[in-house]
């Protein structure tokens, strides 16, 4: 594995190749070829990633400079990749889970006709490529390229079924909301470039001292705005649930392996800046926590299987930001990883359900799928357990690490976070129970066709389930075994600078055990309650009322945005277009023309045709001329004043 890092550019290159082959050959290639190319490149990328990972592990970080991207004046921005511990972890997550999703897609999307199938895989590959650029870039600009690239791909994939106008709106919304975040990111990049003169990570972090605390706060805040957009935090989260419009594997890709984790990656990458900006850290933590709880409340009452998962993602992302906000960078990355496992699992599982149910997504119309879809059911259950944070599933470790760090920072964070975790287990098991337990509530036809998905789909489920179960063991907390947190050790160089500045004060082991115990107990209690309550669910079409209704309608946030921002903007632009432009500016221009025309019609009347009046004007003009001569000084003075 020596020098594997030098070949790190191959990792994004292969998905790019896949994109080109599938994109250009989508008409000529057969479906199986397309899926082989699409998944194959991912597999190769994954293998190279493994190589890179071990190389990094053994030899540390490497920077590979490909070519100068922008060299203008003092700005030197190379197109360079940086293979270090953080990016290696992300590489594995992205390519690994990405590969599984590709594999899954090959079966899931099999109904599409060849051309669209090719397009789909091309987009998927491009998506992965963008994400790889994002995590591999050795400077903020390359990161920004990936950053916008995933936005683009999410746009393309969410709007994949382009005939549906609703889906297109969702895609557009995703892109525009992302752009709002990107704006923050971009401004931060400008700021860094302005103050430090470079955007290369190593140089920036080495020269943090050049920045005033105001600069750092501003930069980190702006970066965080970017993260808010990409990682769907309040107030820019509304696109993510709508992004469910895309095919389910895409949702898995967006929610698990790519895109939404970009914000986490970016903050983890810039950890030193954040550590130096406590104010921003507080904001990050508060926003993360608020998002975690807020999204969880919404998830409580959602009936679309994917929507529940989507809000759960938003909520989980909130936890990660909480972790980042309290300085638990490793915890956040850890949670990204475990979340990638189980959220991919859950989404793919949901996909399997939807596939079986013939694109029915409403859980009120499901139930009792346990028997028909045994593998799906089993893996989904594992996923639910993982996300709920039951030990020893992966979610437990990562979430626990974040919550403990939050407690260290501010106990209130912990309590609120725990409340969110409880809600998580509630809505996840509500989802589980309504889907798999009880009796089937769908149509007979659906029931008749219920069947387990093909192996190309179940295989990834099984792998992911396995990972969800054991994935947590790379980060065993200190209390269980000292120095067993291998992830932390691995990532330590990345966070070294921040660690120097942090003042960790660990809890007593006993207290930590107590807290873990209580929380686990509470979660199990909630799970039992939820399962019992919802396995007997019958769809009676009852209307929710009160708070439940508000939750079902997602706190009416979309409506609020529409009324406060979208509509006024539309009216404003209509006003500009119809009033200011037409009657105002252009009116002025045309008015000048009309004035000339009017003047012409009036002036021509001077030409009366009467010799007498002509001569009269001449005589009067002569008189005026003589008078002008008499008073020339007065007139000159007047003119001088005028001009």
């Amino acid at each position: 594995m020596q020098d594997m890092s030098k070949l790190v550019y191959l990792v994004p290159l292969f998905p790019l190749l896949g994109f080109l082959i599938n994109g250009l050959g989508r008409k000529s290639l057969s479906k199986s070829l397309i899926s082989i190319v699409g998944s194959g490149v991912m597999l190769i990328a994954f293998f190279i990633s493994i190589g890179v990972f071990f190389d990094v592990k053994a030899n540390g970080a490497t920077v590979v400079e490909l070519f100068p991207f922008i060299h203008a004046d003092t700005i030197q921005i190379p197109f360079a990749f940086q293979a270090d511990q953080l990016s290696a972890v992300f590489l594995l997550i992205i390519t690994g889970i990405g590969f599984l999703i590709h594999l899954y897609s090959a079966a899931y999307m099999h109904e599409e006709d060849t051309q669209h199938y090719g397009r789909y895989f091309a987009y998927l590959n491009l998506f992965v490529f963008s994400m790889l650029l994002l995590v591999l870039g050795s400077n903020y600009v390359i990161m920004f390229i990936g950053w916008e690239g995933v936005g683009l791909c999410s746009y393309l994939l969410i709007g994949y079924w382009f005939k549906n106008t609703q889906y297109n709106y969702a895609a557009k919304k995703a892109f525009v909301m992302n752009r709002i975040g990107d704006l923050g990111f971009l401004l931060a990049v400008f700021w860094i470039l302005y103050k430090i003169g470079t955007v290369t990570y190593t140089d920036v972090f080495a020269n943090v001292a050049q920045l005033s605390s105001f600069d750092i706060t501003a930069i980190t805040m702006l970066l965080f705005v970017g993260a808010m957009g990409k990682s769907a935090q309040i107030p820019l989260y509304t696109w993510l649930p709508d992004a469910m419009a895309g095919p389910t594997p895409v949702s898995a890709l967006i929610h698990a392996a790519t895109m939404v984790t970009a914000g986490i990656y970016m903050i983890a990458r810039s950890n030193i800046l954040y550590t130096l900006a406590p104010a921003t850290q507080t904001v990050v933590a508060v926003v993360g926590l608020a998002t975690a709880i807020f999204a969880a409340t919404i998830a409580l009452k959602q009936n679309d299987i994917k929507k529940v998962l989507a809000y759960s993602t938003v909520s989980q992302l909130g936890y990660m930001f909480l972790g980042l906000g309290v300085g638990a960078y490793t915890g956040a990355v850890f949670h990204v990883m475990t979340h990638a496992f189980f959220k991919a699992l859950l989404f793919l599982g949901a996909g399997s359900v939807i596939h079986a149910m013939h694109h029915e997504q409403d859980i009120r119309k499901m139930g009792g799928l346990k028997k028909a879809l045994p593998i799906t059911h089993m893996t989904f259950l594992l996923g639910c357990l993982a996300i709920a944070g039951i030990p020893p599933f992966s979610g437990f470790f990562s979430k626990d690490e974040i919550l403990m760090a939050a407690y260290n920072s501010n106990p209130l964070y912990y309590y609120l976070g725990l409340g969110g975790a409880l809600m998580t287990s509630f809505y996840m098991f509500r989802l589980y129970a309504m889907t798999f337990l009880g009796s089937f509530r769908g149509t007979h036809e659906q029931q008749h066709h219920l069947h387990e998905s093909p192996s190309a789909m179940t295989l990834p489920l099984i792998v992911l389930a396995l990972l969800s179960v054991i994935g947590g063991f790379v980060g065993i907390p200190e209390v269980f075994a000292s120095n067993a947190h291998s992830l932390e050790h691995f990532l330590a160089p990345v966070f070294a600078e921040s660690a120097k500045l942090a003042h960790p004060h660990h809890l007593e082991a006993s207290q930590e055990y107590l807290m873990m115990g209580i929380s686990t107990a509470l979660i199990i209690g909630i799970i039992v309650w939820a399962v019992n309550r919802f396995k007997k669910y019958t769809d009676e079409g009852q209307e929710n009322s009160g708070l439940a209704r508000v939750l079902e309608n997602k706190w009416y946030i979309d409506e609020l945005y529409d009324a406060v921002i979208v509509k006024p903007l539309h009216h404003f632009s209509a006003f500009l277009k119809n009033v200011v432009e037409k009657s105002g500016i252009d009116g002025l221009v045309n008015g000048a023309g009309k004035l000339v025309g009017y003047g012409s019609r009036q002036l021509r009347l001077l030409q009366s045709g009467q010799v007498g009046s002509y001569i009269l004007v001449m005589v009067m003009a002569m008189v005026v001329f003589v008078l002008i001569w008499f008073n020339d000084h007065t007139i000159m003075n007047f003119l001088k004043k005028l001009f």
Binding site: F69, A72, I145, T165, L187, S573, L576, K577, E581, G593
Partner: protein
């Protein structure tokens, strides 16, 4: 000799085209001419020494005007843009059957001669001449081959720009009398010291001319109408190359002469330009006409370039250079798409389109790439320019930059609106029988898209080409 050739080839071939009666012949001849110009431009720029790229001959000795031409970095870049654009434009509009095609192509080539002249002239009077030479054929092109309201619209456009040019002429004249040896040479203008009052006065005389050409808010109202009504080939020239004349003018004929005024009035211009960016973006959101939408989007982009011109730092200026080239490429691509749609479907109302992605997937993909170039997505060419320009603006003033940046969001809104309304959803009555683009148009679009991506990934050639100009221009400090 190269600059002379650049002017002479289109000029002479253009005149010859007048006499070619057969449409096909005229078309081929024009294409050959454009390719020849391209060949000369490329050879000249990459294989000739700077000395060989300038030309000097006596013209009006009594007036102190010499026929001097020379190519610097920015000139090379714009010459290249013009030279590349013309074959693409001819290729893309090849199938538009213009009546009296020979006159059409003749006028197009004359316009090219004018454009080339503008970009290579280093004598103010020669510059002014070519400035107008580029305009007059366009007047005829638009008025004869344009849309329904072509006559009034083009007339407005013509008078608008004519007033601007005349104001510039006064400025040039005034400068002329200020120079030590009464000369129109760029160098003489450059080395003439002016008082602050004179500078301010001249600044506006020149700027209004350039501002109308760009066009910058609030001098822009001729532009959407003109773009809408012109024949597409002309629109491409207008928006792709001609608007660059304004920007070029500012860099070559304004900033170096009036540093103090640029320093002072630049603030106003930047604010106006930024207002214009947002203003045009907002209007673009509500546009239903594809051509007008592109037009307003172009105003927004030009606004940014105009603002970045006056920030007075290398980065912003370099961004403008890059963006001048890239905007030309992109907007021509967009017009090709707009034309392909209008030619085939007979409408360019967004509300009447839809679902074209099913019928014309290739067109859809190409447009999507162009659309994302239009919103400056990274790895498309526009990103580099906008990145540098915003950067420059940011260095100038953080708040102005922040406000200006809002336009990138608005750009996403209107561009995606456009893409969605044209391509997505179910096919409408207008698009039910549409077919995909093919042949020349497709080839032209692919060429454009390849350029978009190539320059998006590797923008360095353009940056390197124009470096010297930027440094020279900014060397003057008030």
């Amino acid at each position: 000799m190269i600059p002379v050739l650049l002017i002479l080839i289109p000029l002479i071939t253009g005149l010859v085209t007048c006499f070619l009666k057969e449409t096909g012949l005229a078309r081929t001849w024009a294409m050959l001419s454009a390719l020849a110009t391209l060949a000369v431009a490329v050879t000249g720029i990459y294989f000739y020494s700077p000395a060989q790229l300038s030309f000097d001959a006596a013209w009006l000795p009594a007036l102190g005007s010499r026929f001097t031409l020379s190519l610097d970095g920015m000139g090379k870049m714009l010459v290249l843009l013009t030279a590349i654009s013309y074959p693409v434009i001819f290729l893309a509009t090849n199938r538009n059957n213009y009546p009296k095609a020979s006159s059409f192509y003749a006028l197009m080539l004359l316009t090219q001669a004018g454009l080339m002249g503008v970009f290579v002239a280093t004598d103010a009077l020669v510059f002014y001449f070519f400035w107008e030479l580029a305009l007059i054929p366009v007047y005829f092109l638009c008025s004869i081959w344009g849309g329904e309201k072509r006559i009034a619209t083009t007339f407005k456009f013509f008078i608008y720009t004519f007033i601007g040019s005349l104001l510039m002429l006064i400025g040039i004249l005034y400068m002329y009398f200020q120079t030590a040896d009464h000369s129109f040479a760029w160098k003489a203008f450059y080395s003439t010291a002016l008082s602050g009052g004179q500078q301010a006065f001249l600044f506006w005389l020149f700027f209004i001319a350039f501002g109308i050409k760009m066009p910058v808010f609030p001098l822009h109202t001729w532009q959407p109408d003109a773009y809408e009504q012109s024949p597409t080939a002309t629109t491409m020239v207008l928006s792709g190359i001609m608007v660059k004349m304004g920007l070029f003018g500012v860099v070559r004929w304004l900033i170096p002469f009036f540093p103090e005024a640029v320093h002072q009035a630049g603030h106003i211009v930047i604010i106006l330009a930024v207002i214009g960016m947002l203003y045009a973006s907002f209007i673009a959101i509500r546009q239903d006409d594809l051509k007008r939408l592109i037009a307003y989007s172009s105003i927004a982009h030009i606004g940014l370039m105009c603002a970045a011109l006056f920030v007075g730092n290398n980065i912003g200026m370099e961004g403008v250079m890059v963006q001048m080239f890239n905007h030309g490429i992109n907007v021509i691509g967009l017009w090709i798409v707009a034309d392909a749609i209008e030619q085939q479907l007979g409408t360019r109302k967004l509300s009447e389109l839809g679902g074209l992605a099913q019928k014309a997937p290739a067109l859809a993909i190409l447009l999507v790439v162009l659309a994302f170039a239009n919103i400056a997505l990274p790895l498309t060419n526009a990103f580099v320019g906008e990145f540098l320009m915003f950067n420059g603006l940011f260095r100038y003033n953080i708040w102005i930059a922040a406000v200006a940046c809002i336009s990138i969001i608005l750009a996403a809104v209107y561009t995606l609106n456009m893409v969605q309304k044209i391509f997505y959803g179910e096919p409408s009555t207008a698009t039910a029988n549409a077919t995909d683009v093919s042949g020349n148009i497709r080839l032209a679009l692919v060429l454009v898209v390849l350029l978009v991506i190539f320059l998006g990934v590797y923008p360095q050639p353009v940056i390197d080409l124009t470096k010297d100009t930027v440094q020279a221009v900014l060397a003057v400090k008030p």
